[in-house]
């Protein structure tokens, strides 16, 4: 009886297993996710009837629309910033070409993981991405995203040369272009023209000036509500933007010979340039700005500090280009026409890489100095750009490229960058030069000039700094640097300890990944020999 019992149990389990397996197998046929098979384009060949200027003709044919029946799945993060223009112009694009643009959004903090798992595991549910171009350094060597250089060369409508050279480089890797910028990002310092004038202060040229202005204006009433306001608002929460702000402060102290000199690592032996007087000075400055800011600044992200500045509670702030358009928004802004923008402050001293000490600026040490001040604007983050999944279907890829090109072309792009809500900031040379568009959007003459000249000065600087774009860059910057900065700001580490710990942890990562390959990568991304 016992063995019979056992046999029954065993067979029972086997049967149930079998049933479950077949049940699992069935949906595979009925529920193939619609995203992995874009409906095969009804090969009704398209005619180039639509305005040729806005289309990169990918195929040419007589009747019907070019991408009739093609669906493009575009992944980006939930809007309204960045996603909204895509969603708004999608239907226009469909009108023109017949392709449906399906914008899929996920939370910003998980965008990278989603894109990565999709391509690394071969799911390929997405045909295109609108993400951070610094990620192409991970995706391009692995062959996940497509090399767009040939398409761009065959696409005069895109006006690639109008894209500022810096952004062209940033969207390339190893000489090939992998993404199309729709947005240009860099740090600038914004100041309250009225408050500084009243106090008789000049807009800061160096970081010491910045601290001075912040200290003077801290505690005064800047927005007329009777309450004390803040001198400087730079958000310092962990896992937010801390690890970008610090480089805007440190770069002018470390780099002076142009961006091929490198600011993160020594280009001889890949040792980190952080355990020296320059970076330590930067750490101290960063911490000191906190003295003149809101008390919970160490728990604030850029959204908070931006909000504070726009509501008139800060004299100075550092931010990307968003403040320009936001400041003129009559619904939300209390500082309309009171905001000035300047290139991020520089330094009159620069690092001597042999000794690790700071030396004064002169013609040899700071060849690009302006009035004795070395500037090193930091194009942090680089701006949102569109890339194409190399494993997508050809028709989908063509349609995706056409859409990205459409979005980036001046006709659309120039309209989007003047509106703060889109999250797109200028990246085309024509966008800085054409002040009229900005004035039409609501900037006053002075505000437009001021804002645009700030951007231009930054972009034209020969000493610009780009993000670190070598393998494991997230570990260097977003894990180690971020954590040590957070501990430093919280007072758990002294300046020397912080610099030393950062040096040690970066060296550990470099060793783990391979010093030689990292050095090669690093030199390739900054164009050093």
């Amino acid at each position: 009886m016992k063995s019979k019992n056992m046999l029954i149990k065993v067979w029972g389990m086997a049967i149930i297993l079998g049933v479950l397996i077949t049940a699992c197998g069935a949906p595979a046929t009925t529920e193939a996710p619609a995203a992995t098979e874009p409906p095969a384009a009804t090969e009704a060949p398209a005619q180039t009837e639509e305005p040729a200027a806005t289309e990169a003709p990918a195929t040419e044919a007589p009747s019907g629309k070019m991408f009739e029946g093609v669906t493009v799945n575009l992944l980006t993060f939930v809007g309204p910033q960045v996603a909204e223009p895509l969603q708004r112009r999608g239907p226009d694009f469909t009108e023109l070409t017949g392709a449906t643009i399906n914008v899929i959004t996920v939370p910003n903090s998980e965008l990278y993981q989603k894109a990565l798992t999709d391509m690394a595991t071969g799911t390929n549910a997405y045909d295109a991405f609108l993400f951070a171009p610094s990620w192409i350094v991970d995706f391009a060597p692995a062959g996940y995203i497509e090399d767009l250089t040939p398409r761009i060369e065959a696409d005069p409508a895109l006006q690639w040369d109008d894209v500022a050279p810096f952004f062209r480089d940033f969207n390339s890797y190893n000489g090939k272009v992998y993404s199309i910028p729709l947005d240009g990002d860099m740090h600038m310092v914004y100041y309250r023209i009225d408050s500084l004038q009243e106090a008789g202060l000049e807009p800061p040229k160096t970081w010491d000036d910045y601290l001075n202005v912040a200290k003077t204006l801290n505690g005064t009433d800047l927005n007329g509500d009777g309450e004390a306001d803040y001198g400087s608002c730079i958000s310092k929460a962990p896992a937010q933007q801390s690890y970008w702000w610090i480089w805007s402060i440190a770069a002018p102290f470390i780099q002076s010979q142009g961006n091929t000199q490198g600011v993160f690592f020594n280009t001889e032996d890949m040792t980190p340039l952080v355990n020296n007087a320059a970076f330590k000075r930067a750490l101290e400055i960063y911490k000191e700005t906190g003295l003149y800011g809101p008390p919970d600044e160490s728990n604030q992200g850029v959204g908070d500090s931006r909000g504070l500045f726009i509501s008139g509670r800060c004299a100075l702030t550092m931010d990307w280009g968003d403040i320009g358009p936001l400041a003129i928004d009559p619904a939300n802004s209390k500082v309309i026409d009171k905001v000035g923008a300047i290139v991020t402050p520089g330094s009159t001293e620069v690092l001597d890489r042999e000794t690790g000490e700071l030396v004064p600026c002169d013609e040899t040490t700071c060849p690009y100095a302006v009035d004795g001040v070395n500037y090193a604007p930091y194009a942090s983050f680089g701006g949102w750009a569109g890339a194409i999944n190399a494993a997508a279907e050809d028709k989908a890829k063509d349609a995706a490229y056409a859409f990205l090109s459409y979005m980036a072309q001046p006709a659309q792009s120039n309209a989007d960058v003047v509106v703060g809500a889109t999250g797109y900031n200028p990246f085309r040379i024509s966008q800085f030069e054409d002040q009229q568009a900005w004035i039409d959007a609501g900037f006053s003459q002075e505000a437009a000039e001021n804002y645009l000249s700030g951007i231009e000065a930054s972009l034209n600087s020969p000493n610009m700094v780009a993000d670190l774009r070598i393998p494991s860059n997230q570990k260097y910057i977003q894990v180690e640097l971020d954590r040590i900065l957070a501990e430093y700001i919280a007072g758990n580490l002294t300046t020397d300890e912080a610099a030393q710990q950062l040096y040690d942890s970066w060296e550990a990562i470099t060793e783990e990944v391979g010093r030689d390959s990292q050095l090669e990568s690093y030199k390739a991304t900054i164009g050093a020999k």
Binding site: G12, I16, Y112, L116, T121, D138, A237, P238, S298
Partner: protein, 384 residues
């Protein structure tokens, strides 16, 4: 499989031995399997693969590679980093030097553990397995005690392990007490208690991310609703986010607010399911409220409470949304929980490191879970 009821199904009336009856009888005997197998299979099928895969990942390094990704086996490297390497202060905390106070406390704990072991050894029947189990338990507790004693004061800083332990034990303590108190109050015959019951359920229903953002708004000392109070207290320039324990307290408050309803509703159901006769009899006999509670109510809800605390214990160890949203793990790394630590690594594509932290969390939870289940539950059942 033996079933209690089987011994009682007598053959009193000889049922007609029809085909149907044999089938039904057979189905009845199989009931044991039928009831439990679907669950077991479902759990097995969906848990084995992720468990083994993540175990392998914790022993490997993840790299993006052409055409996919690569997992390179590195052995215990990821774990070594946590205990001995660069992640040590992050994970275990910054250890302060030993002082007489710490030695004293540690000695107290050691004595307690020794007592516990001795108690076991003096029992009539001991087994090798039991002995080894208790030794491991004692070692584990001693290790944790050492860590806590050296990181809680004197310039020591708590690591993610200790922070998580604080969240779990302090949180559950308050959640249970509050939940029980509120449950006992709402079980009374009060008009309007249904209103209270529904309202008390609300916090649990809000999505954890939502609760986190809500408390972030509430605890904002410059824009939140308590700003006037804060200003009146003269604390305008002070922010709780800059203080490690202040931040942890804020998170604990949010956690308690959110999860007390969990305890509350289960205890209400348990209290309501109590048979009424003993209670009425006791009242008639003149027992006062406390006596009734101690002798009738408490033993009755004890089993459910134990289950409740175990479930909540397991969930509490995984806390991540509150530290993530309210303080981003700050100041420094003071409010980071173990899951947050794993999350940070995961975002940086250090999947191996992330899995290693997750497995350490698993060991920790299993450790405490087993303690709870074996020692406390067993003793509870004995006492009933």
């Amino acid at each position: 499989m033996i079933s209690e009821l089987d011994t009682m199904s007598p053959e009193l009336e000889e049922p007609q031995p029809t085909r149907l009856h044999t089938v039904i009888a057979a189905a009845d005997r199989l009931a044991g399997s039928v009831f439990i197998l679907p669950t077991v299979l479902a759990l097995l099928l969906l848990s084995i693969f992720p468990l083994l895969a993540s175990l392998y990942v914790s022993l490997a390094r993840f790299k993006i590679a052409k055409g996919g990704f690569k997992l390179e086996f590195v052995g215990l490297d990821n774990y070594k980093k946590l205990f001995l390497g660069p992640e040590r202060t992050h994970f275990l905390g910054a250890f302060a030097p030993s002082t007489p106070l710490t030695w004293f406390l540690f000695a107290v704990i050691l004595v307690a553990l020794a007592f516990f072991l001795a108690q076991y050894l003096l029992k009539a029947r001991i087994s090798l397995g039991g002995l080894i189990g208790r030794l491991l338990l004692a070692l584990g507790l001693a290790g944790l005690a050492w860590m806590l004693v050296h990181t809680l004061w004197n310039d020591g800083r708590l690591g993610t392990v200790s922070t998580t332990l604080v969240y779990v034990f302090v949180g559950i303590f308050f959640q249970y007490i509050l939940g029980l108190g509120l449950a006992m109050l709402t079980v009374q015959n009060l008009p309007g208690r249904r209103f209270f019951r529904v309202v008390f359920l609300l916090p649990m229903m809000i999505t954890p991310v939502g609760v986190a953002y809500m408390f972030r708004m509430l605890t904002d000392t410059s824009k939140g609703p308590f700003t006037p109070i804060w200003q009146a207290l003269g604390l305008v320039d002070f922010s709780w986010v800059n203080n490690a324990w202040g931040a942890r307290t804020a998170i604990l408050i949010a956690d308690i607010w959110q999860w007390t309803p969990f305890m509350f509703i289960v205890l209400v159901a348990a209290l309501e399911s109590q048979p009424i006769e003993p209670l009425e009899a006791a009242t008639v006999d003149g027992a006062n409220g406390w006596q009734i509670f101690q002798h009738i109510t408490w033993p009755a809800i004890l089993p459910v409470s134990m289950t409740l605390i175990l479930i909540r214990l397991i969930e509490a160890f995984k806390i991540v949304d509150l530290p993530n949203v309210m303080t981003n793990g700050g100041p420094g790394t003071a409010t980071q929980s173990l899951t947050y630590h794993a999350f940070v690594n995961w975002r940086a594509l250090d999947l191996g490191g992330s899995a290693a932290v997750a497995y350490m969390l698993l060991f920790l939870v299993t450790f405490f879970g087993m303690i709870f289940v074996n020692l406390i539950r067993g003793r509870v059942v004995e006492a009933l």
